[in-house]
Symmetry: C2
Subunit: 213 residues, 2 copies
DNA sequence: CTTGTAGGATAGGAGTACTATCCAATGGTT
DNA sequence: AACCATTGGATAGTACTCCTATCCTACAAG
């Protein structure tokens, strides 16, 4: 498979593929001669990963680069898979900061029997809980526990699916897209709940059809 | 309050305030004479709304413009408050599309006794459920119901807080920030859950501390 | 009457993600 | 063996967003 074919198969323009090659997002193909290179299915998969992270999850190229760099170093061992998931999480969460602790966060971890170890994700949760309190966004412990329980079951399912020996690219994509989709689902659910409560409270009829500009 | 003071109070540079004025995000101040204008608390609040939508929720200026345009037309009546909430939701959800229906979505609405009316939010939920199915992201009905119940209680609290006659700017900010914060909370919870499951499964110790590049 | 700051307008800059163009080498076709 | 479209590599340019810097004039306080 050469560039033009790869472009057609992936629905990414040849110019963009070249750009990704230059940016290091895509590994160079096997060189056939000084002016030709062959690409394989792994390149197609990588392009799918890039497109998914870019357009579904909404990551920037710099963040995607971080993920693919780990992918390119990984060999599929358990350790590296774990590290990969960690990097994906850090990247999707877009967070790095000092270690933070919250009683609520620790309570959730203890309650669900999650391993009590520091991680980027745990820190992100604690930092976010702090931020929510600071911003004055209400959150009762029951809701937090509800989220945690839901997350617990989803995470199990997610890893089950991705556990059937997919490529690391697929694992990465599934993990990132899954987290993002669920998070967005909650956003939409909240909007609908808010709309529903608002209709009850303010008693509108069909005022929520949107902007009819 | 003149420009310099407003800038100091809001922590937004004078140049940016001028830019927002030009963009119509901020109403012009009361003109004292051809080269001077006075700004009031409402301008400060508007700036806080802009900053929150911009940097917390991550909206673009075009989207923020849509929200403030509605705010500037609204008078605080129930109808307009409802419309405002609808616009905020449409904007935060970044969605417009054809009407979609899903059995799961309808089931949730029926189950929680939400008003069975079409809305942007409801459509967004249905569209998203469809997208999740298409993307192969697993979601069992129990989890969906869990989210819905959580959203239901949060929405109630949210409107209670915002119900104590705040300004419309505050209402808008609270609604948008609240939705976004909860959605991000779930994202972080999912990451932590996934990390925890992965540690159990792949048996790492402290491999999730992140990218130690 | 001077001087400094406000406010307005215009242009410029930084970041991101491509996209278009050019070019020499090549390989398939004739 | 000659030809010509294509490939891949490199460079520069584009489109968009969100500001930021500069310049200018008027006015208000001293």
């Amino acid at each position: 498979m050469q560039l033009a074919e790869l472009s057609k198969a992936s629905e990414v323009s040849a110019a963009s593929i070249k750009f990704y090659l230059r940016s290091g997002l895509l590994q160079p193909g096997a060189r056939l001669n000084p002016t030709r290179a062959a690409y394989g299915p792994e390149h197609l998969q990588r392009l799918r990963l890039i497109q998914g992270l870019r357009h579904v999850v909404g990551l920037g190229l710099r963040e995607i680069t971080i993920v693919v760099d780990v992918l390119d170093k990984a060999d599929g061992s358990a350790e590296q898979t774990l590290e990969l998931l960690g990097v994906i999480q850090s990247t999707v969460l877009k967070l790095q900061g000092p270690e933070v602790h919250t009683v609520e966060g620790d309570a959730v971890v203890a309650e669900l029997g999650w391993p009590d170890e520091p991680s980027e994700a745990r820190n992100a949760l604690n930092a976010h809980l702090t931020a929510m309190t600071t911003a004055g966004v209400s959150l009762d412990p029951g809701t937090l526990r509800t989220y945690a329980a839901a997350a617990d079951s989803i995470a199990g399912l997610n890893l089950d699916i991705t556990g059937s020996k997919p490529t690391l690219d697929e694992l990465a994509l599934t993990a990132a897209v899954g987290m993002h989709m669920h998070s967005q689902l909650v956003l939409k659910m909240l909007a609908l709940a808010q709309a529903s409560h608002a209709i009850r409270r303010y008693g509108g009829r069909d005022l929520l059809r949107g902007t009819e500009e």
